[in-house]
Symmetry: C2
Subunit: 220 residues, 2 copies
């Protein structure tokens, strides 16, 4: 693996004027081919109706208050364009890797735990940790329905769920070991942008949340 | 002016888990009533057809290359909800305050110049500078048409325009002096979000770009 930077792959990065924060706003991305993909035993999903799910969320809220979900934005390069890693459930729903925090768990610890569960060989990971970076955005669910907003809507005093997106930078190589009942996909940003219908509001907004970053495509 | 923080105004801010970057992701916002609004002489606009505009952009591109626009995201509080300051041109088009950089001008200098021209008593400002903060996002125009993308689309080697959005934090009080042919409006984030039809893709995405921030509403 080398570290030569493609001159035409990072055009968008080098055209800017002087920027004090330039170091923090560059993301090194590596080719999909740098990573190994394997599978492991299925992880059980709650098989429940929408009504059951709402009932469960209501009980959880009554017991523990606001639910916090943490999700990872993980990028690889393919055809010189950034691709986002998504998990597909039952050949239909797309999700960012992540999940719900345990009581008292920090965002970062919770996200690392979820990433190991869904993307690593075992719960404790495959020896390479997950580099959880900055929060890119937050979405609020004012009620137990499905609508989410990137702000707390006026007059909402008690939101029911907060979903936080974190940038997770990959090393130049690692193994992804994914449960057999999930499919891991690399989807180009240009396919995701504004594609609410397929990816929902949170995922389809990820290209915008990443737009302040420059992508530094590193060739193997 | 005091600095007491409303306990119910910053709920969204205090519910998070521990976050190393929490200091950088809080925006203090002040009531619209803290600011003075006045008017000044009109500033001339280029009155041209779309075809003329495209021709002008082509000539400029041939002479000077990629065009960079800088725009400001400026917030005030009203009804305990963040509002975005927008300029309205000819009672129809909405724009973020800003404009095109001069040759060799830095993002920050250019944005300060544009803000003074459109929002201050005179070109040199009204004695209070503009605190230009971090870049929130960038949009690329691959060609001289009107479509913009929050990434450089695949196979686009020579984008024609880049629009950069910067967070501009307001002091607790200042004067806005606006040319008579522009209208300055404070529009709630909840009205802007996903409202492409009225505000276009760049402005309607601002609530998402701000979603990682906590708003600290400071009472006067």
């Amino acid at each position: 693996m080398g570290d030569e930077v493609r001159s035409n792959g990072n055009f968008s990065q080098s055209s800017g004027n002087s920027d004090d924060q330039s170091h923090a706003t560059v993301i090194d991305i590596y080719s999909l081919g740098n990573y190994y993909f394997g599978s492991k035993e299925v992880i059980p999903f709650k098989d429940e109706t929408l009504a059951d799910r709402v009932q469960r969320m209501k009980s959880n809220y009554a017991a523990h208050g606001l639910r916090t979900c943490v999700q990872a934005v993980i990028l690889v390069e393919l055809f010189k364009h950034p691709h986002l890693l998504l998990l597909q459930v039952r050949n239909s729903i797309f999700k960012l890797p992540g999940g719900r925090l345990r009581l008292g768990e920090s965002d970062i610890d919770g996200l690392r735990r979820k990433l190991s569960r869904k993307l690593s060989a075992d719960e404790t990971g495959d020896g390479i940790g997950w580099e959880v970076g900055e929060c890119l955005g937050m979405w609020w669910k004012p009620d137990f329905e499905t609508l989410v907003y990137p702000y707390l809507p006026p007059n909402v005093k008690c939101p029911k769920e907060c979903t936080k997106l974190f940038l997770v930078r990959l090393p130049e190589s690692r193994k992804f070991i994914v449960p057999k009942n999930l499919k891991l996909l690399a989807v180009p940003l240009c396919q995701i942008h504004e594609n609410h219908k397929t990816y929902g509001p949170i995922i389809s907004g990820v290209p915008q949340l990443l737009s302040k970053f420059s992508f530094n495509i590193i060739e193997s």
